[in-house]
């Protein structure tokens, strides 16, 4: 970036300043390109090949075959897409609005607000491995809390929450929503703190009730936060991995719990590596993610560009 020239700055930067700026932008940029963007591009390249992941000489170009195979002849692919969509819809419709609702309730200066915030944010502090374990002892068919309560209530049902392909995705979604709510709540609380209270007062003077004030005044005014929350929700839903990995018992997608991130991991890290195949799956995930990333970047940076 040493060739960059200041546009509006009246005073020229000295040579020492230029060296300093080149170093502080150069090193992070090199790290970013080397560790993040180079691998991302390489994945794109590998998706057109077949490779077992061992000898580089064994990489063979096969064009779009991996993609054809994925879309037409890979049984877990469409269930995984469906589950990712369900994940996104569930997260966007339940934990996200609920987190926003809680943030709005907690933003008023009420007592104990810090205690409430902590309790609801707590799951976010735990690793997904720990969250996975905690829900394991709730969902376990024999020793878990849920079946214990159901039995004590005399239902006599023995439900395998994580083994039943019709139920397990929803069981995992509850665990994930438990975590997501606190995340959204904190992000929105932060946004609300930067909100101009005069707008709220004006709405109250005009006779708006709490719900009207929120829907007509606060929510539209917090567009930057809303975009962040939208992106967080979409990205978390697409990237969902750890919690399913732990609750599903490691590598190998379980029926009912297939997700794109798990299929990629299965193909890349599993016993028989199909790198090209896994990369093609990763590119599919990347393209869907890019739609979200693009929306976010355009929305965020458009006004700065002017």
């Amino acid at each position: 970036m040493s060739s960059a020239t200041p546009r509006t700055r009246p005073r020229r930067l000295g040579p020492g300043d230029r060296i300093f700026l080149t170093v502080i932008i150069g090193i992070p940029l090199a790290a970013l390109l080397f560790f993040v963007w180079l691998p991302a591009l390489a994945s794109l390249g590998l998706s057109f090949t077949t490779w077992d992941g061992i000898e580089l000489a064994d990489i063979h170009w096969i064009g779009l075959d991996n993609y054809k195979e994925i879309f037409t002849n890979y049984p877990p692919f469409w269930p995984a897409v469906r589950h990712n969509v369900i994940w996104l819809l569930f997260t966007a419709l339940l934990p996200t609005p609920f987190g926003i609702f809680l943030a709005y309730q907690l933003d008023r200066k009420i007592r104990f607000t810090r205690i409430y915030q902590t309790a609801i944010f707590l799951p976010m502090v735990l690793s997904l491995a720990v969250v996975g374990f905690i829900w394991e002892i709730i969902y376990n068919p024999d020793t878990g809390l849920l079946n214990g309560i159901l039995n004590a209530a005399g239902s006599g049902h023995h439900i395998d929450w994580l083994g039943n392909p019709d139920l397990n995705l929803w069981a995992v979604l509850i665990a994930s929503g438990w975590r997501h709510t606190g995340y959204i709540m904190i992000l929105y609380l932060a946004g609300l703190k930067g909100f101009d209270p005069a707008l709220k007062e004006a709405a109250a003077l005009d006779g708006a009730n709490g719900r009207q004030t929120f829907l007509r005044v606060v929510f539209p005014a917090l567009k930057p936060v809303n975009i962040i929350i939208l992106v967080v929700t979409v990205m978390e839903s697409l990237r969902a991995f750890d919690i399913v990995y732990v609750l599903g018992g490691g590598v190998g997608s379980k029926p009912g719990m297939e997700l794109l991130s798990l299929l990629i991991t299965d193909n890349i890290i599993g016993e028989s590596s199909h790198i090209g195949y896994g990369s093609a799956l990763a590119v599919v995930l990347l393209l869907v993610s890019l739609a979200a990333i693009g929306t976010f970047l355009v929305q965020t940076f458009r006004k700065e560009d002017q």
Binding site: F20, A31, S43, L46, S127, I138, N140, D242, I264, T300
Partner: protein, 294 residues
């Protein structure tokens, strides 16, 4: 607090009670899974084996915690986590502060592109990077004193590097928004005084960003400490892995004793809880300026 607010509060007392009941109920509901894990971890395995997990306790003890601590090598894995998390968080904050300083305080032509490159990098799914990264790590040599594998692969340095590169995007985004709120006059005054840019950065801008650093340090410590995907793929030897991925081993080895695993799982959460409680006050206020004022 009410007198400090000018908004109308006619039916306030009753509403406040209702709101407290609702919030307390939700907070309690949110704590149930965690409390259940605590309860399980405090009960001896023999007790639950005999009477079932949903039963009144005959005895409670910290025995599972000491057993998990002693039997599974937890101190060792904790240390691995510290060795990865602390440099990763510091490096991420330093790198992103530098980039944010560059793009927010100077009018260079490619600033927006740079900012986009960093921000978008953090939004890429980790699985998209993993295969090439793995090969790359096998190609990069490291001296003996840094890695006994002589490679970036299977060394803590590799995990630190990817954390810093990957997480810088998010922090750069937040910090650059934050730095834009610092008046330009402050750096201009420094320029007039003849202060070089590096002094502006270290002595003026960095200290002013302290609230944002507190918030980001909290979030990044939690994320980096909790991550287990990179070590899973990039560290071969089990004994080099951080505690979160080692926990999976614990589950494998002691899967018949959930009480013990509950104790182990809860212990792994203690460091992030401490960080959160220590920085809680600054946490939300630090996030505020990064996201709220668009």
């Amino acid at each position: 607090m009410r007198e400090s607010q000018t908004r109308k509060t006619t039916s306030a007392p009753r509403r406040q009670t209702g709101r407290h009941l609702m919030l307390a109920g939700i907070a309690l509901l949110w704590l149930v899974p965690l409390l259940w894990a605590v309860y399980t971890s405090l009960r001896p395995y023999s007790d639950t084996a005999k009477h079932g997990y949903l039963s009144w306790p005959r005895s409670l003890s910290l025995g599972n915690f000491t057993d998990a601590w002693n039997q599974s090598g937890m101190p060792h894995f904790f240390w691995n986590s510290v060795l990865i998390t602390v440099p990763s968080v510091l490096g991420t904050l330093l790198f992103s502060a530098a980039v944010a300083f560059f793009v927010s305080r100077f009018d260079f032509r490619w600033n927006i592109v740079l900012l986009m490159l960093f921000t978008a990098g953090n939004l890429l799914p980790a699985q998209v990077l993993i295969t090439p990264l793995y090969r790359l790590y096998l190609l990069v040599p490291l001296p003996q004193w840094m890695s006994d594998s002589l490679l970036l692969y299977n060394s803590a340095w590799g995990i630190i590097a990817i954390h810093i590169a990957y997480q810088s995007g998010f922090c750069t985004f937040v910090l650059s928004n934050y730095m834009k709120t610092i008046p330009k006059e402050i750096s201009e005054a420094a320029l007039v005084d003849g202060a070089p840019v590096w002094r502006q950065f270290f002595q003026i801008i960095l200290p002013l960003c302290r609230p944002a650093f507190a918030a980001l340090a909290t979030l990044e410590s939690i994320w980096i400490y909790n991550d287990f995907f990179w070590p899973l793929a990039l560290i071969e030897s089990g004994d080099k892995r951080p505690i979160t991925s080692a926990l999976a081993n614990l589950q494998g080895a002691y899967f018949t004793n959930p009480n013990l695993i509950a104790a182990g799982a809860l212990m792994t959460a203690i460091p992030t809880l401490l960080v959160y409680f220590a920085l809680q006050r600054q946490f939300i206020s630090g996030l505020t300026i990064g996201s709220g004022k668009g």
